[in-house]
């Protein structure tokens, strides 16, 4: 079970906005083995959702994947595209970024599938839940009946039919078989009375049930990789526990691979085999769960873990990370460790952008921090006001994590221009 299913190398996703280029994801490496649960954890605006969407190819303009390779292990696909795109194939791996869009599109649902954070807004309120799931089943069935054609999926959904669907009940497009399958799926995710529930509308479901329904929909194409983007953030703890149990069970049953995006370290600890911690568009530390939770090197990981109030014992003061999530605008990202301005252990060495170093845990453990190679030394520490007082206090001129605002922050950018060229691409 140690075969890789997905390898992401040097992935960069940029958004070209009026305010400038936003480096949502930079030079990201990720490896996922078949049948495991990999977590990506980070604060809002750290680029974790964009990473997930890049993998499943859901980046829309003004966003663009500018660099990198996404190798997907699927022998059938490799055979199918080997003739037309030899450079995109390496053994049983296919580089998804080098095959045409239609091929990538045909993988959605059958190979990759996604569940979103907010179940209430992810369903169409005017169609019954059963119908929506059946539609997903239908699309997948048409696709698998004709695997190489991507047209098969869409031909039934022509413009004329789309317009007709506004007057005719859309059930017409869903065959009885897909409906049966939809009910099976609803049963699989633990919805009681699936037959009747299938005919109800999303507003008749509770949040937890809708999240289950969304999981059912994602399972329609029996995907190899399920990308779960904050699947439990909108739910209460008792319901969260139910949904996590469900994902656990489904994974045991189907051997599905899960890429779990979350900001909740508890959820990561509960679900994942391996974890990547994201900050400012990069994975700053990755490794097995033990590497990251017990043997972490990066001060950001330390700070993140230190920020969580402990449930087991009444704590003293929390140890928060000072400051706020940084801007991801390209011209405001100086060439240094992006965390240095909030880092309690910033040293002169941090003024050049760190590459990934081996961590001290298992072979999997990689850290983007100079502390992996040297001890922290007071002598080389940066003075507390090196980045300007503003950065150290809670003052933040970059309220919008997506970077859609045009405030400039001259001091910080200028003060670090002399930091010599690091490993930044």
């Amino acid at each position: 079970m140690t075969e890789d299913i997905l390898r992401v190398n040097g992935l960069s996703t940029r958004f070209f906005t009026e305010q400038g280029q936003v480096n949502a994801v930079s030079d990201l490496d990720l490896r996922i083995e078949r049948g495991e649960v990999v977590g990506i954890v980070g604060e809002s605006g750290s680029g974790k959702s964009v990473t997930a969407r890049s993998v499943i190819d859901l980046i829309e303009s003004p966003g663009e994947i500018t660099e990198g390779e996404i190798w997907f292990n699927e022998p059938d696909l490799a055979d199918a595209v080997a003739d037309d795109y030899p450079e995109a194939v390496d053994g049983s791996f296919v580089n998804l970024l080098e095959v045409p869009k239609q091929v990538r599109r045909s993988l959605r649902g059958s190979s990759f599938s996604m569940i979103f954070q907010d179940p209430e807004s992810s369903f169409n309120p005017s169609l019954t839940v059963g119908e929506q799931i059946a539609e997903a089943v239908e699309v997948q069935q048409r696709a698998s009946a004709n695997p190489r054609s991507t047209r098969a999926k869409t031909q039934e959904y022509s413009l004329g039919r789309l317009m007709l669907s506004t007057v005719l009940p859309s059930k017409k497009y869903v065959s009885e078989a897909s409906r049966e399958r939809a009910i099976e799926l609803l049963e699989l995710v633990g919805i009681p009375d699936p037959v009747e529930r299938a005919d109800e509308y999303p507003h008749e479901y509770s949040g937890g049930m809708l999240q289950r329904a969304m999981i059912a929909q994602a399972l329609a194409g029996e995907p190899d990789i399920l990308v779960a983007d904050e699947p439990t953030t909108a739910l209460d703890v008792t319901i969260q526990a139910q949904v996590l149990d469900l994902l656990d069970d489904l994974q045991d049953e189907t051997g599905m691979t899960i890429l779990l995006i979350t900001h909740n370290l508890g959820v990561v600890a509960r679900m994942c085999n391996r974890v990547g911690v994201m900050y400012a568009g990069e994975i700053v530390e990755r490794g097995t769960l033990e590497d990251v939770f017990d043997d972490h090197v990066h001060p950001y990981t330390e700070g993140l873990l230190g920020s969580i109030p402990d449930l087991e014992s009444a704590g003293g003061r929390l140890e928060p990370i000072p400051g706020n999530v940084p801007s991801l605008l390209d011209h405001e990202m100086p060439d240094r460790c992006y965390f240095a301005d909030r880092c309690p252990k910033a040293m002169e060495d941090c003024l050049s952008h760190p590459p990934e170093y081996e961590g001290r845990g298992t072979d999997e453990h990689e850290v983007r921090c100079v502390l992996a190679t040297q001890e922290y030394s007071e002598a080389r520490a940066l003075s507390a006001d090196y980045f300007g007082k503003d950065d150290r206090t809670a003052v933040d001129k970059h309220a919008d994590p997506d970077g859609f605002e045009d405030d400039v922050q001259p001091e910080r950018a200028e003060s670090t221009v002399e930091g010599s060229g690091g490993e930044r691409r």
């Binding site: 037959v195 008792t238 526990a241 508890g266 509960r270 402990d310 449930l311 999530v325 809670a394």
Partner: protein
């Protein structure tokens, strides 16, 4: 008020929202349906403590917070603040209550007016309450110290309105003035407000006031507020912003220029502006990232110590509650099920709901995967039609079986869930059995098939095997269901399996760690419940 008296006493508070209550509905003769958001909660908040109110969404915790502050009028019950009922207040005393009790809202993005500057937002409460306050009855007095100058030649006059900035003690606002000769005092910055120089004499006031010195026959010192009301308010806003960790040059900025954590700090500064005694914190950190949440929690902690604040902290996040609170009240479906000191409640939770809630929180540690957890099934029932008796009984893993029922707890839980579904007629008959095994005519099975049908249905509804006697009862009841006689089935099952949990709503005992659960109800415990296994 003695130190032991509660600052806030909530007594049987109820807040219902009514549905189908419009004029049209009345004309059509629809009965209004109450949504029992808060259904009889009672608790005390002692001065200086933090009481946590925790529960799942929809359990009524925010409504409780709002009703306590009289932002909502209650349906019934009373809240006493500092000994007097909040709902009886009028005019001046109501204004005073509004000043003393403040709120910080959950969403820092919608609780600040996007068209107002930060300065405007923080000074607005000051304007509304006409701060700074001055009282004509308060006397102003100066305490004079001299250094290098004889006290006899110094005369001090103090404006009557310095109590705007100097809080009076026993009806007297005292300002502290020091007059020194220039030799002793050294250089004086002429721009500084609290210090002034005239011909060799330097006068200084310790409070945040303005001072003037004139030298005629003697030394005449005059202490005044020296600033316009507007300036005073801006200065106060500046102090507050600094106190909550924002830089003071941001008064002219707009909320959209700040991040979530900073906006929450602005919200806190606004709540602090009128020097309240009591603050309701309604999910103050749930919109924030963990690292920022930790900053805000630390800030709230510091402010509490500094200003002697009393908090009611509403949160769904148990780890936040554990970190910040002195005592905790756990709410479920409009009722408080358990209140206790934070350590006791977290280390030794009594109510099955509290236990399940604690079990459900994933811990950020590598042992999490192997942790034993008991999670709840099902959703929170609707507050429109809450379950009879104990409201948690529909999900409770420890629901109490009638005496001498020889089945184990888990099976009984399953039976209760089955009963629940029979009672709410929430079982679909169409899908029972293999395809076309049973004929459904008008939604019911023909009598001849009823027994076979009941067996099939039982197989679908129950996971565990029942002892023969109970097997018979259940099949009997399901056979009634099969022929469409739901009432008969309901009756049959109730007769056999009615639990004390559905007959009586357990009361919150009056002790240090009250819990509303029949497991701790001594009388009931002796009569029909097995001793709680702990």
């Amino acid at each position: 008020m003695s130190a032991d008296d509660p600052l806030v006493r909530v007594d049987g508070l109820e807040k219902y929202f009514w549905e189908n209550d419009s004029v049209l509905d009345r004309l059509l003769g629809d009965d209004p349906v109450p949504v029992r958001a808060v259904d009889g909660v009672s608790f005390d908040i002692r001065p200086g403590e933090t009481l946590g109110l925790v529960g799942e969404s929809g359990c009524g915790k925010s409504t409780t917070g709002e009703t306590v502050l009289r932002l909502q009028e209650p349906t019934d019950g009373d809240v006493a603040f500092d000994g007097s009922s909040v709902y009886d207040l009028e005019g001046k005393s109501l204004t005073e209550f509004r000043r003393n009790a403040q709120v910080v809202f959950q969403d820092p993005f919608s609780s600040l007016d996007p068209r107002m500057t930060i300065g405007g937002i923080v000074t607005q409460p000051l304007e509304i309450h006409d701060w700074p306050w001055t009282d004509a009855d308060v006397e102003s007095r100066a305490e004079l110290r001299t250094d290098g100058i004889s006290a006899d030649i110094v005369s001090v006059t103090v404006d009557d309105d310095v109590d705007k900035l100097v809080s009076p003690v026993d009806g007297v606002a005292t300002v502290h003035v020091t007059v020194r000769s220039s030799d002793v005092a050294g250089d004086v910055d002429p721009d500084e407000r609290g210090i002034a120089e005239a011909e060799g004499a330097v006068a200084e006031v310790a409070e945040d006031l303005s001072i003037d010195v004139e030298r005629g026959d003697g030394i005449e010192v005059h202490v005044s507020v020296g600033r316009s009301t507007k300036q005073l308010r801006l200065d106060r806003a500046r102090d507050l912003l600094e106190r909550v960790g924002l830089s003071v040059d941001q008064l002219d900025r707009y909320p959209h220029e700040f991040s979530g954590g900073q906006r929450q700090r602005i919200g806190i500064a606004r709540a602090l502006a009128l020097e309240p005694e009591f603050m309701v914190l309604d999910e103050p950190t749930s919109a924030l990232d963990v690292s920022v949440q930790a900053q805000v929690l630390n800030l709230l902690n510091d402010l509490q110590t500094e200003f002697d604040l009393t908090y009611l902290l509403i949160s769904h996040d148990l780890s936040v509650i554990r970190h910040v609170c002195d005592r905790v009240a756990v709410m479920y479906l409009g009722e408080i099920v358990e209140i206790g000191p934070v350590d006791e409640l977290f280390e030794d939770p009594k109510h099955p709901y509290t236990r399940a809630l604690l079990d459900s929180v994933p811990r950020a540690s590598t042992d999490e995967r192997d942790r034993e957890r008991e999670t709840l099934s099902g959703d929170v029932p609707s507050p429109r039609d809450p379950p009879s008796g104990c409201r948690f009984r529909t999900r409770c893993p420890k629901v109490i079986p009638p005496a001498d029922l020889e089945i184990d707890q888990e099976t009984f839980r399953e039976l209760m869930t089955l009963r629940e579904r029979v009672e709410s007629r929430d079982i679909s008959l169409e899908t029972v059995g293999d395809e076309d095994e049973f004929d459904l005519e008008g939604g019911t099975v023909v009598a001849a098939d009823a027994d076979a049908f009941a067996r099939a249905l039982k197989g679908r509804l129950l996971e565990t095997e029942l002892p023969p006697r109970h097997d018979e009862i259940v099949e009997d009841a399901l056979a009634s269901v099969a022929v469409g006689d739901w009432e008969e089935a309901t009756e049959r099952l109730r007769e056999e399996y009615e639990s004390v949990c559905e007959r009586q709503n357990p009361a919150l005992e009056a002790d240090d760690h009250p819990v509303a659960c029949h497991l701790y109800d001594e009388e009931a415990g002796r009569r029909e419940a097995p001793a709680p296994e702990r």
